[in-house]
């Protein structure tokens, strides 16, 4: 008997401990609890509001619960029969009405923010980005700027960016928690949403809908930079890549083996979904293939056997075609694909 009382005392302790243990050390560029833009902020506001209301409800219920369990425990030797109460209309009305009021308090901002976040902008107002999801990588088109990019999404800070999201294969979901909630990318349909990053930084994003063997590895980054820098980035992206003669061998290999799938021209092929990531600014990638370290060794590893690193992806391996020396010069060339 006493053993369960003791354990009860442990419970709140446990909960608090867990809060402390898990709550700290979160990644401010990944967590929905550290909003970095108005969308995530409004959502965070609703999260907090609903948690507070629910904690209030929880506290009330727990007070009654503990009181009942302590006060009305069967005591040894206790006999007699408790009064058989049928119920109470008054009480039933009370605990119908109070929740209704609490829910109304929650419902009003819910509906308001639902409509706010669904707002669509006139095309000439906001920067437009088309997100095209692929198994297991992301393609971005900036229709008004005439460029396209892959994996890392570059946006300007302090302004709303309007997204149109779709998919080339299965359903994925575009989610950068610190900037805002997710929207699914459905093949054959186009969804809309907007995001805004208040400060420059590299925000982490993830595919949030099971999309196949490498769903776990389908991350992405949102690189937010101030408007002038962003404009400069756009201008550079528009320029064709000019390679130096140092990497001529790698360039040749790329032309033979890779260019059939990977474009290195950001202005090319807009309006048609790419088959593989555009590598115009590959050298600037934060991570390789959305998940792995951007070092020469890993890049070579990837080219040799992408299936091993990202099961189910569509890139063929080149372990048989390219020897280590050729791979090294190919990697050298890839690293020059930069707009910085």
């Amino acid at each position: 008997m006493s053993q369960w009382k003791k354990a009860w005392r442990l419970l709140p302790l446990l909960a608090v401990m867990m809060l402390v243990l898990t709550g700290c050390g979160q990644d401010p560029f990944l967590s929905a609890l550290t909003p970095r833009g108005p969308v995530a902020e409004q959502q965070f506001y609703l999260i907090k509001l609903s948690i507070y209301i629910m904690m209030g409800v929880f506290a009330v219920v727990m007070v009654i619960y503990v009181y009942v369990l302590v006060r009305f425990r069967h005591r040894p030797g206790q006999t007699g029969i408790p009064e058989q109460i049928e119920g109470s209309h008054k009480l039933e009305i009370i605990w119908t009405t109070i929740p209704l009021i609490l829910l109304t308090i929650l419902a009003i901002p819910t509906v308001k923010i639902t409509f706010d976040l669904a707002e669509k902008f006139p095309t000439d107002d906001a920067l437009q980005v088309k997100v095209i999801a692929h198994q297991f990588w992301w393609e971005y088109e900036y229709p008004d700027l005439g460029i396209s990019a892959a994996q890392d999404l570059y946006i300007p800070t302090g302004e709303k960016v309007q997204f149109q999201l779709t998919s080339e294969d299965v359903i994925h979901s575009f989610w950068a928690p610190a900037l805002g909630g997710k929207t699914d990318t459905n093949p054959g349909m186009v969804n809309a949403m907007w995001l805004q990053a208040d400060d420059p930084g590299v925000y982490k994003g993830k595919c949030a809908e099971l999309c196949g063997d490498s769903h776990t590895l389908m991350d992405f980054k949102i690189v937010a930079m101030d408007r002038p820098e962003f404009d400069a980035w756009v201008e550079k992206m528009k320029e064709p890549h000019v390679s130096s003669s140092d990497v001529a061998e790698g360039e040749q290999i790329f032309a033979d083996s890779c260019i059939s799938c990977h474009a290195i021209d950001a202005t090319q092929g807009l309006d048609i979904p790419d088959f593989a990531p555009n590598l115009r600014n590959f050298g600037d990638r934060v991570v390789l293939a959305n998940y792995f370290n951007m070092d020469d060794e890993t890049i070579a590893e990837w080219i040799k056997n992408p299936e091993k690193m990202k099961p189910g992806n569509l890139m063929p391996g080149f372990a048989d075609e390219l020897d280590d020396q050729q791979l090294a010069s190919l990697v050298d060339y890839l690293n020059t694909l930069s707009v910085k």
């Binding site: 053993q3 446990l14 909960a15 867990m18 243990l21 898990t22 700290c24 979160q26 990644d27 967590s31 929905a32 409004q42 959502q43 609703l46 609903s50 629910m54 929880f58 219920v61 727990m62 009654i64 619960y65 009942v68 009305f72 069967h74 408790p82 009064e83 119920g87 109470s88 009480l91 039933e92 605990w95 929740p99 929650l106 419902a107 819910t110 509906v111 923010i113 639902t114 976040l117 294969d169 299965v170 359903i171 979901s173 989610w175 928690p177 909630g181 997710k182 929207t183 699914d184 459905n186 093949p187 982490k204 993830k206 595919c207 949030a208 099971l210 063997d213 769903h215 776990t216 189910g312």
Partner: protein, 586 residues
């Protein structure tokens, strides 16, 4: 039988869950990755929902509902047996995928199109599609059977408003089964056309629509979660009332709340789809409808508390599970309201927050309730009491393990961990939560082992249990433990809510009967249901392997058996008065 098979699948699903948690114990592990991991998570979900939770609920419904309404059996014993075999063989078909074909299905238990269409998945999904169809027919038949039983076979005087809460929830649950299962069946048939006959319902390139799958799935799927939780509500109501020595507070309000939850359960399916892009109007409406469900659920919580209020609450394993149910389910319900806040759901959707939420409702709710019911009714079902000491260990290890596993997951989700991922990166604050979660999973595993041990020990022990070991209130406690195969020697006469309690209060000590003792008619056992189910299983494999003549043979075989069953008269047999064990005094 239902219990045995359901228990077996529960262990299987549990093992899959443990493997998942082991893979996620530390960042960057590579024990089960990629497709293997997806197979594990798909099979865990599918097995737990369709082949563990449903049959264990059906086991209790089968064992207890007839007893609570004073009936000798369910209305259609033949259909009951058929339902059982269809469910079981459906589970066999699904799990056969581990060994046949190209591995288990890997598109998630939700099998979203187009990931589940042939272009993006291998043969495993065929086993899913056909296994669930076979099992689904079984479940649907079971639901109809319980509906008819409760409507038609109540003892004299047992009006609807006098039904014990468990029977009420069984009634509403069966109604939900009746209306929800056709939706998934239609969906599965569409997918089957896409997979086996080159259809394009879910192929956007050919004019199909991928979102239809989600609508049909959740039109079934949301009621399904209420199908699972309502019987637990019923168990908790009965258990709390019995062990508080009080009638259920607000019985009629509880009935009303149950019906309302069942009804609203059909109005909210799209809250699983807030991020699909339905637009602000649909999102707002479904958000509001979802929040509304909190009201009848809250009514229930308060009525349980006020049933205990002023009572004499006896603490034993059976009541502990029900008492533990209240705070855990409450947490699940509250995160449910949070998820209903559509714009905030954009952050929660498809993350560990959702995993935490529905495990708090399904495990913290349904499983706690089922354990409570198991300890409560075990003597009535098997004539022996489960060991109390092991029972307490069973409860506490589970309670602590459960909270350790799922509580941190709320935070993992908010901190950016999507669900259905096989690993996570270090240094994003996700290590501790995942580690604690895996430790908790081991705690629950230990708990289940203790429960199995308890069953074995109890089974071996020599004990006899009186008809009414708990000072019960309802009809099942008027007959011997274990219940004889004819249940009631004489049909009881019900004179109020909590029929047995009414008699106890009037000092009768015994229920009165509505009929004189006479010989009892019993149905004869039949192999036909088993053979029919075998026929359909045969057909299912025929479809999976595209061998149409096997499929046709299986179907024809089943139809022939159905015709035999229709024309053959089954006279049954009688149990003579001398053989009836009558003298039960309580």
């Amino acid at each position: 039988m239902y219990l045995l098979a359901g228990g077996f699948f529960f262990l299987l699903g549990g093992l899959e869950a443990l493997l998942i948690r082991i893979q996620l114990m530390y960042p960057d592990l590579d024990i089960f990755v990629g497709g293997t991991f997806n197979q594990l998570l798909t099979m865990h979900g599918t097995t737990m929902i369709f082949f563990a939770a449903m049959p264990i609920i059906f086991a209790l419904l089968n064992a207890i509902v007839p007893l609570q309404i004073g009936a000798r059996d369910v209305a259609f014993p033949f259909i009951n047996a058929l339902g059982l075999w269809l469910f079981f063989l459906g589970g066999v078909i699904l799990n056969a995928s581990w060994f046949l074909g190209a591995g288990a299905p890997e598109a998630g238990w939700t099998a979203y199109a187009p990931l589940s269409t042939p272009a993006f998945s291998h043969m495993g999904v065929d086993f899913y599609v056909l296994g669930l169809q076979v099992a689904g027919i079984g479940t649907w038949l079971g639901g109809i059977n319980f509906l008819v039983t409760i409507i038609n076979m109540r003892a004299p005087g047992l009006t609807f408003m006098r039904l014990p809460m468990f029977t009420w929830t069984a009634f509403v649950t069966s109604a939900l089964v009746l209306f929800a299962f056709p939706a998934i069946t239609v969906n599965l048939i569409l997918l089957m056309f896409d997979r086996l006959f080159g259809g394009a319902f879910f192929n956007a390139d050919m004019g199909g629509n991928v979102v239809i799958w989600q609508h049909l799935f959740w039109i079934f799927g949301h009621p399904e979660v209420y199908i699972l939780i309502l019987p637990a509500f019923g168990i908790v109501s009965d258990v709390i009332s019995t062990f508080s020595k009080k009638r259920l507070f607000g019985h009629s309000a509880m009935v009303f709340a149950t019906v309302l939850i069942g009804f609203l359960g059909f109005m909210v399916w799209a809250h699983h789809m807030f991020t699909v892009g339905m637009g602000p109007i649909a999102n707002s409406l479904f958000a509001l409808a979802t929040m509304l469900i909190a009201v009848p659920t809250g009514i229930k919580i308060f009525n349980w508390l006020f049933t205990m209020w002023g009572g004499q609450v006896r603490i034993n394993t059976a009541s502990l599970w029900s008492i533990g149910f209240i705070p855990t389910f409450l947490i699940g319900g509250m995160t449910g309201v949070m998820l209903g806040v559509a714009p905030a759901d954009f952050q929660y959707q498809d993350t560990y927050f959702v995993i935490a939420h529905f495990h708090y409702t399904i495990v913290g709710g349904m499983v706690f309730g089922l354990f409570s019911g198991m300890y409560y009714w075990w003597p009535k079902m098997f004539g022996k009491m489960l060991n109390e000491k092991l029972g307490k260990w069973n409860f506490w290890t589970f309670f602590i393990g459960f909270n350790l596993t799922f509580f941190p997951q709320h935070f993992l989700g908010l901190m950016g961990m999507p669900r259905r991922v096989f690993t996570f990166l270090p240094n994003a604050g996700l290590e501790m939560g995942n580690f604690v979660s895996t430790i908790g999973a081991f705690g629950m595993t230990l708990s289940i082992l203790i429960f199995l041990l308890n069953i074995v020990i109890t089974n071996r022990s020599e004990q006899t249990v009186p008809a009414d070991p708990w000072d019960g209130r309802t009809l099942e406690w008027t007959i011997p433990s274990p219940a004889p195969e004819y249940n009631f020697a004489q049909t009881p006469l019900v004179r109020g809510l909590d029929a047995l309690w009414v008699e106890k209060m009037e000092g009768n000590g015994q229920i009165s009967y509505a009929e004189p003792l006479g010989r009892i008619h019993m149905p004869s056992p039949s192999v036909l249901p088993f053979l029919m189910a075998i026929g359909l299983t045969f057909a299912a494999f025929g479809f999976i392997y595209h061998t149409w003549f096997v499929a046709a043979t299986g179907l024809i075989f089943t139809f022939v058996l159905m015709s035999i069953r229709s024309v053959k008269d089954d006279p049954g047999y009688y149990i003579e008065v001398e053989d009836i064990d009558e003298g039960v005094k309580v």
